[in-house]
Amino acid sequence: MYSQFFGNYLLSKQAVTTDQLVHAIQEQHTKHLRLGTLAMHAGLLTALQVDNVVIRQTHEDRLFGEIAIEEGLLTEEQVEELLNTQTPDYLLIGQTLVDDGVFTNTDLDKYIKSYQKENEISQLESDKEQQENLDALVRNLFLITLENVPEYVLQYLNLLFNNLLRFIGEDFTPLNPSIVSEFVTGRCSSQVVKGDFQLTSYFDMTEDAAVAFASRYVNDSFTEYDEYVQASVEDFLNLHNGLFNVNISNNNSEVSLQLDPPVSMDNTMISCSTETILLPIIYPFGIINLLISISESENSVLPETKNLNSLESLNNLEALMNDLEKMS
């Protein structure tokens, strides 16, 4: 699940441009991981060895595995094992960038190792470890460009990435966040979460991206932008903000938040009077521009507690529903 952040890591290291990354993300679905990439990732072959086998493949039409076995680089068992192991999906984006000539196998090897090391990602992880890593990745994402991001904004994004993974698909990459003072929307839905602090989020995308987003979200196949597509995007925003409220109030009973209905902000110039973060998120079908405006009331009680993942919040919600069941 770390492909989302590997792309962002490459951006932060200036190993790729945004355009190169977007292109590779859109292209990667047509590709499969190759044995050479897998062997390099497993530490069985060096980048140079992989390149040499690939060069030999240009002279004779044979499989990578056959050549590697013949040259004594890999055993048959190793090849078998590589083909059957689960691999991190960020390898594919890396391999696509190598294919596009953005960098070499040697570079890829180096970036993967430093990415894993800097983010303490190991090959085998429990769900809990994955969650903790996601927390760290979200934090790093913001440290690059912003200072003093409130804790609840990080929680908000953490939950958003989880919800995108669960409801839309894992093939997204967040670009670097920035602070904006105004923004011109295309198709845009917005919702206010208010209470001890106020957070307004905007989901902005093109019509085509909205059609694809809605199709994935409600498992339907919309063909053109209409009121159902718009309602689907609003429904996702409403669900996500609702889960955020549940998380916040589970973490801190002092804080109570309410939701306003989602509203359409199509083709509008949003002028931001309070601090507003712009975070573009790339999917193969298009870019979602997420804007978050925050303002705090003076006596705000800000949550400084553990992050719940969305599954935990759903469980907590069930308990709440049982209580309500008894009331009604």
């Binding site: 159902y228 409220n245 549940v246 939701l259 209905p261 009604s328």
Partner: protein, 125 residues
């Protein structure tokens, strides 16, 4: 009363949510629908049509679900209102039940839940 004869009022600002609920109720046997896209429309449609059951979203523009429940219950204390709540609106949901809502369902909607709510109130086909 038979479900096919029942007047069913659905109040939700999302056209998608109204369609999803309507599709479920249609598949169970309901046929007469009234649709409101905000709390005020729900109040007005209730007054004009006296529906047999009302499904109401909480978070709605103009007048929210709880505002509508209060007004409908004031005019008709026997009103049968089921709250359809989104996740994260628990405070408002508690309030809705205190205001007189008889039942609630949680989005995303579950066909079985809707069916059991309708079965306790109406005869099937």
């Amino acid at each position: 009363m038979k479900l096919e004869d029942a007047k069913i009022l659905i109040g939700d600002d999302s056209i998608l949510a109204r369609k999803q609920l309507k599709d479920i109720i249609l598949s169970i046997g309901g046929t007469h629908f009234l649709e409101a896209s905000n709390g005020q429309e729900a109040i007005d449609l209730y007054a004009a049509n006296s529906p047999d059951i009302v499904f109401l979203d909480i978070v709605m523009p103009v007048v929210d679900g709880n505002g509508a429940i209060a007004e409908i219950m004031k005019n008709d204390p026997a009103a049968d209102i089921v709250v359809v709540s989104s996740i994260g609106t628990q405070l408002q949901l508690k309030q809705a039940i205190q205001l007189g809502a008889k039942d609630f369902v949680q989005k995303p909607l579950n066909r079985n839940q809707i069916e059991s709510i309708l079965k306790t109130r109406f005869e099937g086909r």
